[in-house]
């Protein structure tokens, strides 16, 4: 129960940070995707169900906060949470480079999916330009902060496994 409450708070805080990212941490209007990092983390550590639920809560929060159609962020997060959760059993996810690479790919896939859905909804928007100027740099930024974030999440949720995990 306590773990679930902590998880819910963390997801909401991540979504809050995501939607109100401080200006001084923006690099050329590019921000990392914290909710996605959380989704990837739970997909790797606890499997796809927790990852999808994380994506659901965080996605709803982001959809509401950004006033987009309900389900836009949710769909992207849920799909990625499910896929990465499935893949986690077949990946050597303990290696930091794998985690970073996974977050980068997930970020790119999320951005791509999000932009494509947006493009379908509003064909006037420049999808390719958005992918080049926002999605790829955003994915890179997310990948950069992956390791500290993972360590932080590990401290909060899986402290007892920290030594084993850190050794990897």
């Amino acid at each position: 129960m306590r773990k679930n409450i902590t998880w819910l708070i963390l997801v909401v805080v991540a979504a809050l940070l995501q939607t109100n990212w401080p200006d001084f941490l923006r690099v050329q209007d590019v921000v990392p995707n914290l909710t996605l990092i959380l989704v990837v983390y739970f997909a790797l550590v606890e499997g796809e169900v927790r990852a999808m639920l994380t994506g659901l809560i965080g996605g709803i929060y982001q959809d509401v906060a950004t006033e987009s159609v309900l389900g836009h962020h949710v769909l992207c997060h849920v799909i990625l949470g499910f896929i990465i959760g499935r893949l986690s059993t077949r990946l050597i996810a303990d290696h930091p480079a794998v985690r970073v690479g996974l977050v980068f790919l997930a970020g790119f896939a999320h951005g791509f999916l999000y932009t494509i859905i947006l493009f379908i909804q509003e064909p006037g928007t420049g999808a390719i330009l958005t992918i080049i100027t926002q999605v790829i740099p955003g994915s890179f930024y997310s990948a950069l902060i992956t390791l500290p974030c993972f360590v932080g999440f590990r401290v909060v949720f899986h402290r007892h496994e920290l030594n084993n995990w850190g050794a990897a």
């Binding site: 709803i60 509401v64 906060a65």
Partner: protein
């Protein structure tokens, strides 16, 4: 039973399918379910508010600290630029004040000129002040200035032109030892024996009227004006008596503080011509012309004797 077991076994897939389907339906309809949306929005806004306040505060402080570090040189340049601007603006301000004062003086001079049409006045600017009571003005013989024209202000006598160059002229003020001006006390028209007010040789006061008869009454505060014998128009104020001394048993001296301090002047008038008005020449009384010859006095009978009445 079989279905629930299958769902339980494939929980992730079912959850995924449900979530994706719901999301797709929501995206396809493109509508924002009002009751969910408003509820969630309310929740979001409530939870967001303190967070936003905190992030705003942190952001402000971080910006401040970051700007302290990274914008230091720019702030320094801005500071230098602002200081330069401030100096320039102070100079402008003082110039503006100077213009304002000059405007005030010139307006006052203009009004004086308009109020005294009997005088032909030429305005001159003081360009140099020489120690010993001499001043140099920017009008010379080319402008019609000759020796010994009178130099005045609306407050009183300044002095006399003692040297006229082409474009400049020198004026000996009452602070100069050669400046002697015919003067009298306005209250009782008392003059000194020499009839002059001049630079005081005793160095005790600026100007003095020497050789005043002991019997003549001169009191402190009396106004000294130009006398009719002087080069100036009569009655032009010179100064005020501030002291009177007995020089001998028969004579006394009065010390005068001139109204005009030449060292604080910027502009003066050169008195080119003083034309007395017709009224002044004729006197203050102007006879009233009586056209009505009729009289309402009673007729007085002629009481003269007959011889006187009819005598040839």
């Amino acid at each position: 039973m079989n279905l629930s077991r299958q769902i339980s076994e494939n929980r992730p897939v079912v959850l995924f399918a449900v979530l994706v389907t719901c999301s797709l339906i929501s995206l396809a309809t493109g509508t924002k379910p009002t009751f969910i949306h408003s509820g969630i929005e309310r929740l979001v806004s409530i939870t967001t508010y303190p967070f936003l306040k905190v992030t705003d505060y942190v952001e402000d402080k971080t910006d401040y600290v970051v700007s302290m570090i990274f914008d230091y040189n720019r702030a320094l340049d801005n500071n230098v630029e602002l200081r330069a601007n401030l100096v320039g603006m102070q100079a402008d301000l003082s110039q503006q004040r100077e213009f304002k004062e000059e405007n005030k003086r010139l307006r006052s001079m203009l009004n004086f000129e308009v109020d005294h049409p009997e005088y032909t006045l030429r305005a001159a600017q003081i360009i140099e002040k020489i120690e010993g009571g001499l001043i140099t003005i920017d009008q010379g013989s080319r402008h019609g200035v000759v020796v010994p024209m009178c130099v005045v202000t609306k407050d009183g006598v300044v002095g006399l032109v003692v040297d006229a160059q082409d474009f400049t002229a020198k004026v000996a003020t009452l602070h100069h030892r050669d400046c002697k001006i015919g003067a009298m006390v306005r209250r009782n028209r008392i003059r000194a024996y020499d009839g002059l007010v001049h630079y005081d040789n005793t160095f005790r006061f600026l100007c003095s009227m020497s050789y005043i008869d002991m019997k003549d009454e001169v009191t402190i505060g009396d106004v000294v004006v130009t006398s009719p014998e002087s080069l100036f128009p009569a009655g032009w104020p010179i100064g005020q008596i501030i002291n009177a001394d007995e020089v001998s048993t028969l004579l006394k001296s009065a010390y005068v503080r001139p109204y005009v301090d030449p060292y604080r002047l910027d502009e003066v008038y050169i008195l080119e011509k003083a034309q007395p008005s017709v009224a002044d020449i004729a006197g203050a009384f102007t006879p009233e012309v009586i056209n009505d010859t009729s009289t309402h006095a009673p007729i007085v009978p002629d009481m003269r004797p007959l011889q006187e009445q009819f005598a040839p």
